[in-house]
Symmetry: C2
Subunit: 377 residues, 2 copies
Amino acid sequence: MVKAGILGGGQLGRMLLQAAANYPVETFVMENDPQCPAAHLCHHFVKGDIGDFDDVYNFGKNLEAITIEIESVNEDALAKLEEEGVRIYPKPEALKVIKDKVKQKKFYESFSIPTAPFIVTQSREDITAHLDFLPAVHKLGTGGYDGRGVQIIKNREDIPKGFDKPGVLEKQINIHKEIAMIVAVNDTAQTTLYPPVDMVFDPSLNLLDYQISPAELSENVLWKTEAIALKVVKELKSPGIFAVELFIDKEGEVYVNETAPRVHNSGHHTIEASYSSQFDMLWRIILNYPLGNTAAILPAAIVNLLGEDGYSGNAEYDGLEEVLRMDNVFVHIYGKAQTKPGRKMGHVTIISKDRQDLIFKKNRIKNTLKVISREKE
Amino acid sequence: MVKAGILGGGQLGRMLLQAAANYPVETFVMENDPQCPAAHLCHHFVKGDIGDFDDVYNFGKNLEAITIEIESVNEDALAKLEEEGVRIYPKPEALKVIKDKVKQKKFYESFSIPTAPFIVTQSREDITAHLDFLPAVHKLGTGGYDGRGVQIIKNREDIPKGFDKPGVLEKQINIHKEIAMIVAVNDTAQTTLYPPVDMVFDPSLNLLDYQISPAELSENVLWKTEAIALKVVKELKSPGIFAVELFIDKEGEVYVNETAPRVHNSGHHTIEASYSSQFDMLWRIILNYPLGNTAAILPAAIVNLLGEDGYSGNAEYDGLEEVLRMDNVFVHIYGKAQTKPGRKMGHVTIISKDRQDLIFKKNRIKNTLKVISREKE
């Protein structure tokens, strides 16, 4: 059996390991928290710091392949392991480009990949020199994750919200919609694309409301998103799974927002709605099997299950029974003991031929299922 | 989180644990072999003998619920645990009835559930007294599994193949087809049925060739199979998942062959082809959630992947790449290190709207994928 490791033990690792159990593979996970969602589903759990050179190097040196479920890993250790013959998904060079938003934006620019105009900033103070560039989005170069590390700077008054570390100031696009394209690439650079996903935001809260796939796009826009997503992945020159997030403006122009070099929240519906899920696909890539079929069995929507505001402590799932009674709904609880506001605690997938049914059910789920705690904040 | 245990760590345990990772449940497995397919997918693996009273009792005494993935467990320990408040799926009383083929046949008889006529035998010698009852099938009372413990006795010459232990001699039915019905029952005796599965045998080898669902049955026969399957489960008076195997003769009469009180090979296609799989359903029952939706998303076929004749040793999967290239096929390899002739090493599920596509693909898979070993016998 191939010995394969995952750096990080969150829900992405958990779902990767659920899929791994269909294949002959010996799995290893490294993560600091032995209670993390993936810890109990691997053959070998190793407690360690994924950001530490020695921990990552020692974890990987006897493995044939390594993947990641979060970007904040020690890529120097991965580079050394790669030199020594360990296969890394994604390649450390690609990871370096993506991890740093400054490098990532320059990468798009250097390959003429459309992306919002930007200015590199070294400090909060730098924003002041570019008032005519506002409204803009200030993005922290490294260390941002899940919405942290991004601030909207509309005008001079917002500048204190900016980051006092290297980052990019990105011109705000007049966004019509935001979509995600999941791309799979194998060791011989063969690629396959999943149908695009509409990431639908709540206009009042400015938060992701739900995701629906396939996205509703005109032929012309679909063609552009596919071409751009493939171009991004081609120039990253790395096998793996990539989620390319794109903005589409009111004129139908397409811009890359950012890319994740790993399985991604926007692809969770592929577990039930696709012939080969993003998790299945990554194992096919790691194990050198043929790429899977990305076609949709049925259209799907995803609702993320976030820790409810005002609750921190032992997680409880209020309304879970009612949701489990819905007939075309799949519940995924990540098994995190503790909830806190906004923490990703699970997701629910709905599949249906009928788009109206997807929307109806996602509303019911959002109104019904809440992650709370009796230990009120 | 509910603490739930599984007795046995084979492929059924493995698939149960893949499904468990969608729910907040702390999982325990007991099995003698720490390398078994399920060992690495639970929170807590306990090495122990599932047939031993003390091992089972000590395993279960701190759990809230226990299920089994094989019948050969110590049911006395389960009965004691049940007395002490542990929820057992299936109930030990139901397990006792099913484990012993003699008791099982008498159970059907006592509730007027149609089943082939039978004679209880204490020894091989007993068959001699019933020559006019031949051709018949001799079944070992306890300890048979996966085809072992069953012998066809056509005439006097076959009697030496019979078992010299308590068993039943069952009149051979003129079988038109064999089907399986998976039934789910929760703690409040609510039931739900999966669509019936055709178990198609190879007439020359007398071995299961493949399974296809939904089975092709006339309305009249479907109605009878559903009524009989529900009656069996009702009289067993136990929550859990049950697979009721039925014979249908050329006249459309339906007979119960036997019942398994657990998730079953004939239900593996439900993982991809149903809204709630048999594994998902068992967790819903154990965790006191609402029963799931048994409807099929698409028709499905299953091919079992058995160790090829003539090979014993480290398993290799010849032809796996070609099968993974097929576009509506799902491969499940159970991760058993060693193959031997006839050992269940995995299964492949095909889903398609088109029955001809199911048949075509199952033939290709059977001709392509072989579990072999370089260490030839």
